[in-house]
């Protein structure tokens, strides 16, 4: 591909969604928070205007121009300045591979001054793969919507038309689609608010609500004894969050005579995060507690195996759900109230790694951290080798920990952590700033704590959709947990040399003569392009939950022309209703990652799922949904006592 001088490939990761953006633009290019405040043209040339959402970005922040054979970056008197390769710069020339930082946005610039070909980058929507499912649940992805009866073509389905198909039909008050953790938590609230098990159905492909979550945990190197990333009060098994996991674990240790450990956990929850490392529960304890609660609320009666194909309104104020209870079978549920919690449909891949896998059909050397990749550790433990790690979130930390363990078996393992840019300072919001150490940005959880139930939750709920995008960019971004053991690991690795950090923008990944992946990166500064050899590349950059990647949601959104929020997820009200789907008495709600970008930041977390379920069920109470009563005061206490005695609600 040939390019004209002044053409630049910009590339950055969206701090809100984690998505890769790679536009190819011609100078002049303006950056700012408000489109209208940036100049439309300069000296007769049209300006490419890029809106960056963040309160740390000024209305018109930075301009990139082609000046006498150079690319020049000029700050436009912005409040927080423009940083080039980590240095505050009012104006300077840049080279290809340089990185400019504008608020929370880190944008890499790739160009050739002589107009030679620019490296191509793929569009982000192609850079995803389906989350792999266990063999039992997997099914040929045959034409989901086509197998549906013609009645499903209509805007509203006639209930009689469904009965006319003579396929199995069930009518129910409450239906949870997904049967994962979000569904389980919503059902938990329904049960405690008064609904009976026979009024509720949950459709999904695994009988344990945490099955998929557990699989993603195991793949991303969280074995049962490891600790998760949520606080003591985030209890999917207990809607009150009391007693939290710390108290339970302390009690348990106390009974085993381990007083010191018990006091340690109590001290953690007392002093975290300022005077002690944040307490987080062990994965295994959380799963065991969910098992107990599942039996208590009658989950085995409520759950049914079924792959949900499509959802329609009915002509009598309800919803018709078509699903496959087995191979080539179709059945329907007709429900008054529906809750969608389908989680992450796909794994997000870096474009260059996705391209490598497609070209080479080599799915062993280049892997995603969320897919099963144990062969990487097994091979390394046998033969030693080099791993390139991409991404610097919590999953990257866990992989470093796992590789460190592998080094006990085979010391000839080294890690090359490839980062796009140095991280001299953390995100800023208002008067506060996030902590940084060794180019990792730290935060106890994936959002500032007050997003769950404090000041920041209120601020976000009251904000307009545009302001919400700004706030999410300010609070978001990739962070890892401030764990002493991990910090020490990184420091030891750096000191001993088996762990190294390299900065640069990847231009391509190609196989070498031995069919090992070779990464070409554009380094900042004079060194230009360098190549890195590795035995394995692990992509720890993330998961994607855009609506269009899920056939079920995509069909729903297309059929009813539903609005999406600025992050491309389902637009929901403050109580998480899909308002446009309201059908007389019928209500439809959403939860989890599929609603991210709306009124609540931490939708994809245990506590966030509890918050959204509480909002949704309170909404149902207000709509006089069958058998539900508002839970408060002594009534709430009575329900808690039942929980404590393990009695059905």
């Amino acid at each position: 591909m040939s390019t004209i001088p002044g053409q630049i490939r910009l590339s950055w990761q969206d701090p809100v969604t984690g998505e890769q953006k790679n536009p190819l633009l011609t100078c002049p290019i303006a950056f700012g928070r408000e489109f209208a405040r940036m100049p439309a043209d300069l000296q007769g040339q049209r300006v490419a205007r890029i809106v960056l959402n963040s309160s740390q970005v000024s209305r018109y922040h930075t301009l990139i121009e082609w000046v006498q054979g150079h690319i020049q970056v000029t700050d436009q008197n912005s409040s927080n300045g423009t940083w080039v390769n980590g240095v505050l710069q009012p104006s300077c020339n840049v080279s290809s591979g340089d990185l400019i930082k504008i608020g929370p946005y880190e944008i890499a610039l790739m160009f050739t001054l002589d107009g030679r070909g620019l490296p191509t980058a793929e569009a982000s929507e192609q850079s995803i793969i389906q989350v792999p499912e266990p063999e039992a649940a997997a099914e040929p992805d045959a034409t989901p919507v086509n197998v549906l009866p013609p009645a499903f073509q209509a805007h509203q389905v006639g209930v009689q038309d469904l009965y006319a198909t003579q396929l199995p039909i069930e009518e129910i008050d409450y239906l949870a689609v997904g049967a994962g953790l979000g569904s389980f938590i919503w059902v938990n609230f329904l049960r405690i608010f008064g609904a009976a098990p026979q009024q509720i159905r949950a459709l999904g492909i695994a009988d344990r609500p945490y099955a998929r979550y557990q699989r993603l945990c195991l793949n991303s190197q969280i074995p049962p004894h490891e600790r998760l990333r949520s606080n003591s009060d985030s209890c999917p098994d207990n809607i009150w969050g009391w007693p939290g996991y710390a108290l339970r674990e302390a009690w348990h240790e106390f009974n085993k005579g381990k007083t010191k450990a018990a006091w340690h956990y109590l001290w953690q929850v007392f002093a975290e995060p300022t005077f002690a490392q944040t307490y987080t529960p062990r994965a295994g304890n959380v799963f065991a507690s969910i098992d107990r609660e599942a039996v208590r609320i009658g989950w085995p009666q409520i759950y049914r195996f079924g792959r949900v194909r499509a959802i329609r309104q009915t002509n009598d104020g309800r919803y018709a759900i078509a699903y496959s209870p087995g191979r080539r079978q179709t059945a329907f549920v007709i429900a008054r109230h529906v809750h969608l919690a389908t989680g992450y449909p796909v794994l997000q891949f870096l474009p260059d790694l996705k391209a490598y896998r497609e070209q080479t059909r080599d799915f062993k050397s280049v892997v995603n951290a969320y897919e099963d990749h144990n062969h990487v550790y097994e091979t390394l433990e046998r033969q030693g080798g080099t791993v390139i790690l991409r991404g610097r979130g919590i999953v990257a930390s866990r992989i470093i920990q796992r590789l460190h363990e592998a080094r006990h078996r085979n010391p000839h393992i080294s890690i090359l952590h490839l980062m796009r840019s140095p991280k001299p300072q953390g995100n800023r919001f208002g008067k506060a700033q996030r902590l940084v150490d060794n180019h990792f940005e730290f935060q106890p959880f994936n959002w500032p704590k007050a997003c769950w139930g404090g000041t920041l939750r209120e601020v976000l709920e009251q904000a307009t959709p545009d302001q919400r995008t700004n706030l999410l960019a300010d609070w978001g971004g990739t962070t890892t947990a401030d764990r002493l053991d991990w910090k020490q690991l990184v420091q030891t690795g750096l000191d001993q040399g088996w762990y190294q950090i390299t900065f640069g923008e990847v231009t391509r990944v190609v196989p070498n003569a031995q069919a090992r992946p070779t990464t070409y990166i554009q380094e900042q500064g004079p060194r230009g392009e360098i190549q890195l050899e590795a035995d394995f590349i692990i992509d720890a950059t993330g998961l994607d939950s855009k609506v269009k990647t899920s056939p079920l949601l995509n069909d729903l959104v297309t059929h009813y022309n539903l609005p999406l929020n600025p992050a491309g997820r389902l637009a929901v009200t403050n109580d998480f209703e899909l308002l446009e789907m309201r059908n007389q008495q019928g209500r439809m709600y959403g939860a989890g990652a599929i609603t991210f970008g709306g009124p609540y930041a931490a939708v994809d977390s245990f506590l966030g799922l509890q918050y959204t379920a509480l909002q949704a069920v309170d909404g149902l109470v207000a709509a006089r949904a069958p058998n539900l009563h508002r839970l408060n005061g002594l009534n709430s206490l009575r329900q808690w006592l039942k929980w404590a005695q393990n009695q059905a609600p």
Partner: protein, 142 residues
């Protein structure tokens, strides 16, 4: 805890005037072997009123914290300060608030400690059980 200002005020008023009041009335009635005296009731009201002001200050401090949170440890430090403030007011600045003519530092410390610990324990447990929305609303229970 991740309180909001309104949440701080509501929780303070509720806990002080229920749990705190019960303990205070016991003190007023001489239940702990002390002399009967209404001073404890007045002291409790001063703690509440000054506290509403302190809460405003705490929220400002919270803004400097990235997580905008208020760990239990800071709750204890704040409580320590609020108690100390009343002692300083009386012992150092020699300001006698109406109703507190029979001031006794030792008794105040005992009374205040009882009230505060009872409130802390309630806020960490019973509040969540009675008000399931409380923890999501920054401490608002209304």
């Amino acid at each position: 805890m991740t309180p909001t200002l309104l949440g701080r005020w509501q929780t303070r008023l509720l806990l002080m005037e229920t749990v705190g009041l019960v303990i205070t009335l016991l003190f007023c009635g001489g239940f702990f072997g002390n002399e009967e005296n209404a001073i404890f009731f007045w002291l409790l009201q001063y703690i509440v009123v000054f506290g509403l002001g302190w809460d405003y200050l705490y929220i400002q401090i919270q803004n400097f914290r990235w997580d905008q949170d208020w760990p239990a440890a800071l709750q204890w430090l704040a409580a320590l300060w609020e108690g100390l403030f009343l002692i300083l007011l009386r012992e150092v600045a020699a300001i006698e608030l109406p109703g507190t003519e029979d001031w006794d530092s030792g008794l105040f410390i005992v009374h205040y400690s009882f009230v505060w610990i009872a409130i802390f324990i309630t806020s960490q447990s019973l509040m969540r059980l009675i008000f399931p929305r409380w923890r999501f609303r920054g401490g608002q229970w209304l």
